[in-house]
Symmetry: C2
Subunit: 248 residues, 2 copies
């Protein structure tokens, strides 16, 4: 189709990196590309913290669920939803008028802004031959993690992103069938079970091939059931409200 679409279609997460450095120029290019993503009314309610110090990466790696590749990658980026800058910028003109910075709406805007910027960064990095993996584990011990990064109120780490030259060639993981995520005109609830069943077959075959064709693998929906039944990161609501977000 074209070079960019070919690149997008080849994406897979990289969890093993070579020792080759990411240059300062590359880092700047990647974040500049991130900045060009759309932002709701130009609020640009996100920040990114670049961590390169080995000791700090090691600390963050442990806090994010002992994922070794966080310590091993040359640059670890932490993408934050950031309403603190917005507050600092706006309040000087508010003359004490009420501010709605703590609304769920603003929380969504900041989370989306961080995500759009990060995805541009991911695409930019991959276009240079670098690999990335998103790290949701930054939310495991989010209070401690935020403290290491000295995040002020109204800022939270949405996810991390390892950055570096790949030292592995994982397969591209199959996605849901196209018509499972693409609806026409209205949400097609009646086809969900069928799409999931089709995907379960694809997923089972993929997982089985990946494990060398041996033991039978579970389907996608079985993994999802396991996820649903786990009380994962139930601290998020309290944490966010404590930090001044999502209060109304």
């Amino acid at each position: 189709m074209n070079e960019t679409i070919d690149l997008l279609m080849k994406h897979r997460s990289i969890r093993k990196y070579s020792s080759r450095e990411v240059t300062e120029e590359q880092l700047q290019r990647i974040v500049q590309a991130a900045q060009m993503a759309s932002s709701s009314s130009s609020v640009q309610a996100y920040s990114v913290i670049a961590v390169t110090d080995p000791e700090q990466k090691q600390t963050l790696s442990v806090l994010a669920g002992n994922q070794a590749y966080i310590a091993e990658c040359p640059v670890f980026l932490v993408w934050c939803a950031d309403l603190y800058r917005l507050k600092q910028a706006g309040e000087q003109h508010l003359d004490g008028a009420e501010s709605y910075i703590d609304s769920t709406e603003n929380f969504i805007i900041a989370t989306v802004d961080a995500s759009l910027a990060a995805q541009n960064a991911a695409v930019a990095a991959e276009s240079m031959g670098l690999g990335i993996v998103y790290i949701g584990g930054v939310r495991n011990q989010i209070a401690e993690f935020s403290e290491v990064l000295q995040l002020p109120e109204l800022v939270y780490p949405v996810f991390g992103m390892c950055l570096g030259y790949p030292d592995q060639q994982p397969d591209v993981r199959p996605r849901l069938p196209l018509e499972g995520v693409l609806h026409r005109g209205t949400y097609n609830a009646s086809s969900v079970q069928e799409q999931v069943a089709n995907y379960d077959n694809t997923y089972t075959a993929y997982m089985q091939a990946r494990s060398g064709g041996g033991k039978p693998a579970a389907g996608w929906s079985q993994f999802m059931a396991k996820r649903l039944a786990e009380p994962v990161r139930l601290h998020m609501k309290d944490f966010l409200q404590h930090r001044g977000m999502m209060r109304r």
Copy 2:
């Protein structure tokens, strides 16, 4: 640098479209590229509704704040955070065990998944010469908007996206200074005011040039103050909880 980064750096939102069609093949390519974005543990907790019917686009355009380009663009995409499919997939294996689908954590995952997928779609579309604009106005009258699209519980429209061939060439809007969003090691709170002041100057000059150089323009921080003081979409929290999300 390379073709993909050049493309990312050229992004600007398009609000005027030519009458040239977007083909079914293009739409499928765009959504396939979207599907290749990362997703937390492969949950793929998003859906996208493609709206092409002129009458339906007109209805949605009015509900999203009377933005005419929603009616005028050939394809209007509505990107939804979707925990409904996850629930449908998982519950068949749960045997009545408690599910944490309603956690703030899962709400964040679904919102991020929708955003990463959408940004890949935006990049793919622009690589084909199409233009896009994100539409936050889908959250203005979110209950009515959701009804038109027949969204089930656990699904909400995060934003819309107009898609079509550009019939305008807007300028690229200046972003915050790089060091305003990129922090090193820890969050640099002490530099925020300085970065905002620098950006205010850039923004004022840009806005003044855009209006033909006439009247003096406000800085970015003044626009932000106006935004903060407006009680925008305060219905979001109630709406989301009513639809089964973010309850704990």
